[in-house]
Symmetry: C2
Subunit: 121 residues, 2 copies
Amino acid sequence: MRHHPVNLKDKLSLIQQHWSPRVVAEMNDYQFKLAKIEGAFVWHDHPDTDETFLVIEGEMTMQLRDEEIKLATGDLYVVPKGVEHRPVAEHECHILLIEPRGVVNTGDAGGELTADVDVWI
Amino acid sequence: MRHHPVNLKDKLSLIQQHWSPRVVAEMNDYQFKLAKIEGAFVWHDHPDTDETFLVIEGEMTMQLRDEEIKLATGDLYVVPKGVEHRPVAEHECHILLIEPRGVVNTGDAGGELTADVDVWI
């Protein structure tokens, strides 16, 4: 299963819950995760790794402590390792996350939006 | 520059040559590369790493020695490490490649389609 092709939009149609990344593929020790997001996430960082966001459909803002980065369909942005960030989406936005296996969505911040890792769809 | 957002279609519009991946972003020691492909590439493999293809626009076939995998816009496929493959596109197809920094497009096969690595756009 892990080396079959996946259609991102087909997989996204299976996701109901916001802020719950679902793994769709692996490359070496990295994972591709789809998520639907809406509203404001928690401020957090990932001290050991960069984290890539690719907007599949919609618009979102990546808030950094000193900057706001607007992202729309087809935009790719790599959050640098250790940089505090907070994704925000006014309306539902569909994203592809790429990061090492085992990265927790809320980083070191924890809280109720913390999702299980390594859940495949 | 390496941590600014990039729009994939804007970057693709800057690419003229087929089979010449251009780096647009980095995540840890991995790179995101855009390419336009048309025709048949060479059979090759990457003995040390998986390699990810995401079709941004168009259609392509990933030929494996025992299988042909049809890919269209929005399809993601991870070629496993060490597996011989040959991308083929009847018409021009736009793809995003994700793989470790330094991977050569023709793997160990070499030949005239071998592109320079680490060329940013």
